[in-house]
């Protein structure tokens, strides 16, 4: 699949934003000491809003006819993209009222604001799930059509959110909170495990072949002519191909930048290094998302001569 930059930045930024919002609310309401500081809560909350809003604006960038984007809420019953849109918008009032509660009452908010906050955290995770299901529901792309896709999106969203949250807490209060550090470290390990399992899983040959695509299942089939002299929409959208050695290099780069270096920086415990760790995680996840698209092979490629997906 062609990795559109707008979709990469959208999923990474809004993923980090929703992860940050969910963890911040849950941590605050569960009474984690370092999150009982309204300046930390407000700063992280506003950053989450900025990340989510920028991400959603980016997502508009890949629409070819954005003037009809408002119609995207219409098919909530069947379309994951529609569900994502609805939950993404629904998140705002809950989270904003929660933040207003913190702004007016400080960290000790009353039950009303707590319930709204809890709902905002829930909607944030549901939105992440809906985003991942847009990809996981496509039977045409076997690399995506798996429960590993939602797992990856939710874990990586929470992971990037936790590193950003730890970075904000550390730089605002000067001293690092051990529980946020442990959470971020644990999620980095979990994220790396989820990603490596995914990489092994997509490596297994499976799915449709040129034989099932053309109906000639008892003989070899080779493409003679795709019927047009220059690339069309299908070639540009689905024919994206990366050399195998470049994929390997990028996989290593992704694992090192998004998981390994931030993990080591977190172990150091210094509050400046953890800001670098947060930036590296988000940057590394951009590579991860690029690979998620570039390695996905749509079945239409079979009609253009690929022997298998």
């Amino acid at each position: 699949m062609h990795p559109a930059f707008s979709v990469l930045t959208f999923t990474v930024m809004s993923g980090a934003g929703y992860g940050l919002a969910a963890l911040l609310i849950l941590g605050h309401l569960l009474g984690i000491n370092s999150l009982q500081d309204s300046s930390v809560l407000l700063t992280s909350g506003i950053l989450a809003l900025v990340l989510i809003t920028l991400g959603l604006l980016c997502s508009m960038g890949h629409l070819a006819n954005p003037k009809n984007a408002w119609r995207a809420f219409n098919r909530f019953k069947t379309s994951w993209l529609s569900r994502e849109g609805v939950f993404a918008v629904l998140f705002y009032p809950f989270f904003l009222i929660y933040l207003i509660g913190i702004w007016t009452q400080g960290a000790e908010i009353n039950g009303f604001f707590s319930i709204l906050g809890l709902l905002a955290a829930l909607i944030a995770i549901v939105t992440l799930f809906c985003t991942s299901m847009i990809y996981a529901s496509l039977k045409t792309i076997r690399q995506w059509n798996s429960s590993l896709t939602p797992l990856n999106y939710i874990v990586l969203g929470l992971m990037s959110g936790s590193v950003v949250l730890a970075a904000i807490q550390a730089s605002l209060s000067g001293s690092a909170s051990s529980i946020l550090y442990q959470l971020a470290t644990a999620l980095l390990v979990l994220g790396a495990i989820a990603k490596v399992i995914y990489l092994f899983w997509i490596g297994k040959p499976a799915g449709s072949t040129i034989n099932t695509a053309t109906g000639f299942t008892q003989a070899s089939v080779r493409l003679l002519d795709q019927g047009h002299s220059s690339n069309g929409f299908l070639n540009n959208e689905f024919g994206y191909t990366v050399e195998a050695n470049k994929i390997v290099c990028l996989r290593v780069l992704m694992l090192v930048v998004a998981f390994l270096i931030p993990f080591l920086l977190l172990l150091s415990g210094s509050s400046t290094l953890i800001v670098i760790a947060a930036l590296l995680t988000v940057g590394g996840l951009l590579v991860e998302r690029w690979l998620f698209f570039a390695e996905a092979r749509h079945v239409v490629r079979l009609f253009h001569g690929d022997q298998r997906t």
Binding site: H62, A72, R75, S79, S208, G215, F216, V221, G227, G232
Partner: protein, 229 residues
Amino acid sequence: MKLGLVIDLDTCVGCHGCATACKQWNTSGTIGPLADKDPYGREPVGSWLNRIRSYEVDDSPNSKTVHMPMSCMHCDDADCVTVCPTGASYKREEDGIVLVDQDKCMGCNLCSWACPYGARELDPDQGVMKKCTLCVDRIYDEKLPEAERQPACVLTCPTKSRVFGDFDDPESEVSKLVRERAGKALMPELGYNPVNTYLPPRNKPVQDQIDTASLKDTVKGWVNKIIAR
């Protein structure tokens, strides 16, 4: 009613006539125009609703060239319709034709991702999704003579490799062809239940390969030819 096409892979010669007739009719039809970018240039790109690909099937001496025209299969379980967030993509209750409402489409491409047959192409000019309409603006047009109330691709096919009809009627020509010629659906494992069906090529006897003459015979023949002159 379940309208669709039967395509005979035995007789299709890959002339691209169906694709051209389709483009001609539909560019001025209900979903038109079908834009082309750089149409007379080096890299023309545009939206076509019908594509013809050619394959070599099996190995020599049994190998065979098969031309495979592909347009929307008007699937029974069309994921392109369910993934559409705006409601632009819909499947008609009465005859099963899958259509795109050009006024509602926001050009997110998700339906083309959900389609395994490459039936949907984004219009490079208007940014909305284009797909085969089964010439819905033609098959119901009572101003046309009855014989012409068929999709443009079917009418134009010089080898009559395309047949249009109702798959729900067991006595229709398409249903009979599917029964008699063991019609196949493409990629049935994905579970889209495509309506359009492909008739596999008939088995023909394997041709004996001509024995190449020995060197002696070749020289003899060549000498005889010269002497005869």
